[in-house]
């Protein structure tokens, strides 16, 4: 009875049990503690085995706990290849905004090359005054910047345009997005050294993999915030993220961030490579197609609770997830627990960073009845994440890239969480 009264005293801000986000702020902790229905395991005073013997020694390179070994990327390999395809970040298993490097999503077009940094070089040529070659040792001497920013494959969430909602985890559906602390050399510094000619309006970035992955990048972006990234989350890039150097274009669709970068050719016009014409172009219902839809749109996904999980009975829960936009900062995230009939604003962890994950949270008192959870992000340009119905109506069934609709999770009476179209 006490618990019931405590729960009832919490301020409901939207339908079906959404509670005010200040529950997490000052004064809310006590209410939360009083309201929790979780019970500690009824064990007598105990000294566990690991307190009765000294622990293991230090080690030069850390590993996660073996008890966490089940947290893995979802790997999908293209038929008749070994290294082509993608692997998705298990978003539902992670907290905060940084994706561990080992769980960062992958999208490769011909596997991961094993590159000796002593032999790797980056050539800048084309419409420049001075074609230049940079060794990795040379790049290490340049002024660097570091920024926490997301990276999303433009094909992320593509399965959501299936007629029937695919049943997968949050990561299985939306895990071609990750967020890291990237550090490296501003591309503008290197382009200035080479001396871009006035007619150089684009550049071609080419990777040193077996696909020679290549994309055209507008010079305005290259001179703005593009980086030759050398580090990810404090250490040198992982091979599957482009070791020893990748192009990083904040907010732009994933495959333009060419990994294993070996060549930048300054051009007057786009090169019209396979991966910017036949792929990664957006076919419209009219039959016409858009080229160069670079920034990733405003988007969010609730990671807890999320698809394939099971909630453990009625009570107080924290809804949590990540939001991001290729157009800047997240301004706010709104949550619904009644299938979109009503929304309330979620709490954001810290001040949102531009072009980065923002973690959002919302207290929810689940009464055990069937519910539909949604998150709707709004970015600093005012762009609002659309409903799936609106997105499909606008883009038709042909499109396969830049899916950013609101994700709806159905919670059944028994607690099973599944993907649902609303």
């Amino acid at each position: 009875m006490t618990n019931r009264n405590s729960l009832d005293s919490l301020e409901q801000v939207a339908g079906n049990g959404l509670l005010h986000r200040r529950l997490f702020l000052q004064g809310g902790a006590a209410a939360l503690a009083g309201a929790t229905l979780l019970t500690a395991r009824a064990a007598p005073p105990d000294v566990p085995a690991w307190m009765k013997t000294p622990g293991t020694p230090m080690r030069a390179y850390g590993e996660r706990s073996p008890h966490e070994a089940k947290v893995l990327r979802t790997v999908n390999t293209t038929p008749s290849t070994t290294g082509t395809g993608g692997s998705r970040t298990p978003l539902e298993a992670l907290e905060g905004i940084i994706t561990p490097s080992s769980l960062h999503f992958e999208r490769h077009h011909s596997g991961v090359p094993d590159i000796d940094p002593a032999q790797h070089q980056v050539l800048i040529h084309g419409l420049v005054e001075r074609p230049l070659i940079f060794s990795m040792d040379a790049l290490a001497r340049y002024p660097m910047v570091s920024r926490i920013q997301f990276l999303e494959c433009s094909g992320n969430s593509g399965a959501l345009n299936n007629a029937e909602p695919p049943q997968q985890t949050a990561g299985g559906l939306h895990g071609l997005v990750s967020c890291s602390d990237w550090a490296g050399v501003p591309l503008a510094v290197l382009l200035d050294e080479a001396g871009v000619k006035p007619e150089g309006k684009w550049l071609l970035a080419e990777g040193g993999d077996a696909a020679s992955m290549s994309r055209s990048v507008p010079m305005a972006k290259a001179m703005d915030d593009a980086m030759l990234a050398l580090y990810q989350n404090g250490e040198h890039l992982r091979p599957e993220q482009g070791y020893p150097v990748r192009l990083f274009l904040p907010g732009y669709e994933g495959n333009m961030n060419v990994k294993w970068l070996r060549r930048i050719k300054v051009t007057a016009e786009p090169t019209m490579t396979k991966d910017e014409t036949s792929k990664y172009s957006d076919l419209q219902p009219s039959g016409r197609a858009k080229l160069f839809t670079f920034p990733m749109e405003v988007k969010s996904v609730i990671t807890s609770p999320s698809g394939m999980q099971t909630m453990q009975g009625a009570g107080l829960y924290q809804i949590s997830g990540v939001a991001w936009s290729g157009f800047g900062r997240i301004r706010r995230v709104e949550i619904s627990a009644d299938g979109g009939k009503s929304f309330a604003q979620a709490a954001l962890d810290g001040a949102p960073l531009p072009l980065a994950f923002t973690r959002f949270r919302m207290p929810w008192r689940w009464d055990g009845s069937p519910s539909v959870l949604m998150s709707r992000a709004v970015d600093e340009t005012g762009a609002v994440q659309p409903t799936r119905a609106a997105l499909m109506a606008a883009r038709g069934a042909q499109f396969r890239y830049h899916y950013n609709a609101i994700q709806s999770w159905s919670v059944a009476a028994g607690g099973a969480v599944s993907n649902v179209y609303v």
């Binding site: 340049y142 050399v185 696909a211 703005d224 090169t271 490579t273 039959g287 080229l291 157009f327 340009t381």
Partner: protein, 177 residues
């Protein structure tokens, strides 16, 4: 909303000043024309970069059946990997078939991509003649060029792809202040 986005993009140009103001230690080593020629494999839509050499569909069929058919099927029909032929008239359908003939806007892209990335297991192994021949074979299978047309650095950039007029660039230059 679009104007606000442009404004945001313009605001982000404040970073440009910061980035450009930085100076590097000037450690780039001048690249010789020979070095650049050895690295530069990309072909522009105007044909810039196409090497000497030539090929026809008949020669390309031989190369295709030896090195491509296992992944792309007989006559480019596809499976297990991308279908390369057909699909014309399907782009407005719910399940459009995007092939070289139905979708690709530039013929030069076929040469560029084959040269840089194909055959999948042995990229950078084809000669320029073989690459021109394969390109000719795929274009002829799609009915884009005549069976006996010779593809080379002069003729390939002049090929007009059937779907060329149906692409629009969504990119807009940010406004500079």
């Amino acid at each position: 909303m679009f104007d606000r986005r442009l404004a945001a993009a313009a605001a982000s140009f404040a970073w440009l000043a910061c980035a450009a103001a930085q100076e590097g230690p000037g450690l780039g080593v001048p690249a010789t024309p020979e070095q650049v020629a050895g690295w530069d494999v990309s072909i522009g839509p105007d044909g810039a970069g196409l090497p000497p050499g030539s090929g026809t569909a008949a020669a390309g069929k031989t190369v295709y059946e030896a090195k491509c058919v296992a992944c792309h099927g007989v006559d480019g029909a596809g499976r297990p990997n991308d279908q390369l032929v057909g699909g014309q008239g399907t782009l407005k359908e719910a399940a459009p078939i995007r092939t070289i003939g139905s979708y690709w806007p530039y013929a030069t892209t076929v040469f560029d991509y084959v040269r840089r990335a194909m055959p999948y297991v042995t990229p950078h192994s084809l000669t320029p003649d073989e690459t021109y021949a394969l390109t000719a074979y795929l274009l002829a299978l799609n009915g884009v060029i005549e069976q006996n047309a010779v593809m080379d650095a002069t003729t390939l950039p002049k090929v007009v792809m059937p779907n060329r007029a149906n692409f629009d660039s969504a990119y807009r230059e940010p406004r500079r202040r």
